[in-house]
Amino acid sequence: MSPVPITYYLVLSAILFGLGVVGFIFKRNIITIFMSIELMLNAVNLAFVAFSRQLGQLNGQVFVFFVIVVAAAEAAVGLAIVILIARTRQSLNVERVDLLKL
């Protein structure tokens, strides 16, 4: 086993997830909000890898692999939406994006 207790990794993962939630709620820039989501995904990945290590099974790492793939797809589509919003509203501030139809 790793000399570092698995609990430390899980606490670190929770701290990063909490920071991601706080960023998601408090930030106003749509790109930074998106990056907070990526931070939360990374925190969850760390918990997956830590549990995979502790249980001696590789399923957690396979899950992390899939999470990374889905995050890549999500980033591509999400940033396309961000570009579209910036083009139509001339602003990246989420408080100005409050209408479904212009």
């Binding site: 000399p3 990794y9 929770a14 991601g20 939630v21 820039n29 001696g56 099974q57 590789l58 692999f65």
Partner: protein, 165 residues
């Protein structure tokens, strides 16, 4: 011993960079902070014995995804975030609520881990070989489905970002 020291170095770096992501007002600074978080997480994956995941983290996350972010920030010429006044409620309730959420999460997950600790098999699971065997045997259908997902995502991104005539 050195492993513990490395853990605290990279964990501290990750937390500091994540805090910097929130506190910076310019999106490009937030993006660079997020890259620091991802690289330190890759180092932690190495400490946990997940070499393949560490490499993928660097190549896909810190490489491809963050380049995409930085590219979009520069393309849109995004300036500093507008400062909007938070309501008092947000400041005095939101921040303690965030801390509470973090503590609650840490407590719950750490307790689950200590319950698992009794029946943990002391097997060294790692090695990329075993991971790839699992990926292409047990998880081959999800693996193929992700390729369809990526194809759909590419088409969606192209359709969305295309400039209408």
């Amino acid at each position: 011993m050195i492993e513990t020291a490395l853990f605290f170095v990279f964990a501290g770096l990750a937390v500091l960079a994540a805090a910097s992501l929130i506190l910076q007002r310019h999106p490009i600074h937030s993006a660079l902070s997020l890259i620091v978080v991802m690289v330190s997480l890759a180092a932690l994956y190495l400490l946990l014995g997940a070499e393949f995941i560490a490499a993928v983290q660097i190549i896909v996350y810190a490489g491809a995804i963050m380049v995409l972010f930085v590219f979009v920030i520069m393309l849109l010429n995004a300036g500093a975030e507008e400062r909007t006044s938070f309501s008092r409620l947000a400041r005095y309730v939101g921040i303690p609520a965030g801390i509470l959420l973090t503590v609650q999460l840490a407590y719950t997950v750490a307790r689950a881990a200590s319950e698992q600790a009794h029946r943990a098999p002391a097997v060294e699971p790692s090695s990329t070989r075993n991971l790839s065997l699992m990926l292409f045997r047990e998880y081959v259908l999800p693996f193929e489905l992700t390729s369809v997902l990526i194809l759909v995502a590419i088409l969606g991104a192209v359709v969305l970002a295309r400039r209408e005539k």
